[in-house]
């Protein structure tokens, strides 16, 4: 059993086995299952007509909180001029599962992924199976989020062009049946450029491209001094942050390595666009007002909307 090199016929998006018509999944067992129930989404192949419900999906947008994703779906609905039938409104498609919240705005789905790599991992496994079962055509996956900035002021929009783990490798190390299976944390370079291209000097904020460091914790894992535990000093922290900056890191968050590794493994076009809510070179605590933070968090959504409109020709 060679875990690092999948043995099923579905290794590439261009050449794949009949078991995997979309090319997204790499799991020969799925085709042999009577039913595939996506437990955390509350959707299944027997209980729902997934191609009918989701076959038109072109953009899968994931982000932290349910409220933010609901607002995003409403915003995008308006931006792409998609009209809902009179007397209807968006409703949570996963309501019954009580784990994630998913909204569908025409060809766009917006789902919250919670916090951290394991939480987004569950969601992505089920979303990748969802676009597979629904037979979606070339869906683009984008994570919209917040992050700590490194040498960029709060409010800066950061587009990731790669993700580093704690060993400073461009890999996520999966632990599978007692083995460590590294997978590359690659993002689509063209998509990063396309997202950057829709930024404008008149935006009133800066948009930059750079590397993202992915941590498994907000406090000690990001070198903060203000967690419940801290056994290092300000100078140790600054040495580490400066070292990251020298490696090209411009932001730190908690979901990018899993997002990049899973979407890349599925052969999906994927990107990450985040708003920095603090410049970590200046401090640890998030001290901006709720209003300011709210305005900053809308910035990635503005670029996203322009990108989607351009893709749809709206």
């Amino acid at each position: 059993m060679d875990l690092a090199s999948p043995s099923c016929g579905c290794m590439s998006t261009t050449e794949h086995s009949p078991e995997c018509p979309t090319g997204f999944i790499r799991n020969p067992h799925i085709a042999r299952m009577d039913e595939d129930f996506l437990y955390h989404l509350g959707l299944g192949t027997k209980t729902h007509n997934l191609p009918e419900m989701f076959g038109d999906v072109k953009f899968v947008i994931v982000g932290g909180t349910p409220k933010r994703m609901e607002n995003l779906a409403k915003y995008l609905l308006n931006e792409i001029k998609h009209k809902l039938p009179v007397g209807t409104q968006l409703s949570d498609l996963t309501g019954a599962a009580d784990r994630y919240s998913m909204y569908k705005a025409g060809p766009i789905i917006c789902v919250n992924h919670g916090m951290g790599n394991p939480s987004i991992s569950i969601l992505l496994h089920e979303l990748i199976k969802l676009v597979h079962h629904a037979k979606c055509k070339n869906p683009v996956f984008i994570r919209l989020g917040t992050c700590g900035g490194l040498g960029v002021p709060g409010g800066t929009v950061v587009i990731s062009d790669g993700v580093l783990n704690d060993k400073l490798n461009g890999e996520h190390e999966f632990k599978i049946l007692g083995n460590v299976v590294p997978r590359p944390t690659k993002l689509d370079a063209n998509l990063a450029q396309e997202l950057k291209a829709v930024a404008s000097p008149s935006d009133g904020f800066q948009t930059v491209i750079g590397k993202t460091y992915c941590a498994d914790d907000f406090y000690e894992g990001q070198g903060r001094l203000d967690g419940a535990f801290c056994d290092y000093q300000e100078a140790d922290k600054m040495r580490w942050l400066n070292m990251l900056q020298q490696r090209g890191v411009v932001n730190i968050e908690m979901e990018s390595s899993m997002f990049a590794a899973l979407t890349h493994n599925a052969g999906l076009k994927a990107g990450i666009i985040c708003a920095a809510i603090v410049n970590r070179l200046n401090g640890d605590q998030i001290t901006e007002t709720k209003e300011t933070l709210g305005e900053w968090q809308e910035r990635p959504a503005k670029l996203l909307a322009r990108y989607i409109r351009r893709q749809l020709g709206v």
Copy 2:
């Protein structure tokens, strides 16, 4: 800098520095901060009177979803016969932060932790600082959750007496400033026995004590065959599950190693009690009805309520 051995004066709950009057936190920087804003809880030392709000807290209960924790708080309120003022109801104490939901039922707080170690990590750092700032006296931390069972039928209640990581060690490996810092995943042995002692043969369900395996993923990380990716066979999976069972593992979930490592590091009395929603030796998919799953998930809460009533002398 010796990261594995904290150098601040707050190493023990009996002997600690004046900087850390409660003994829970291990961070000399906190006492020097003007304000400590617990960002993901939306609570701060300057904006809120934390001793007044939370000084009476004796039990801190954490669990997966917001809805389940709200229902738990209402249930416990009734169980401990705590009356709210006429015309009032419980409300989410972290509503403004939009990350976690926290409810207070007399001396009990119930907070959802989302899914996975990183998500519960953020919450625990902030809860440990909260009980510190609020000057709580010997609060007991308990995680209530769901899990995959190993050799026990769905519906079994599992009380953890230790947590193993992917290397089968009783440690959680923290990644801090480029170093790997292992911390023991110890739970309170007396608390496990106290929780077991309130189970009764007439419960209509089995309650067992055993080791918990903590994974960072629901699919490949737990040896499931039904994720978006799977490069192993049924026989590989069964070999791994059987090996875990031989090591004393009775359940698998995704938050225990962080929960045990952080509460132990804080010198807190802590325990984990979960309902198994599937016997992994029989399959991967969660196929029970929502009603059955709902009833199973209430079982740990029943034991918890008895334990708390006994402690409070209700």
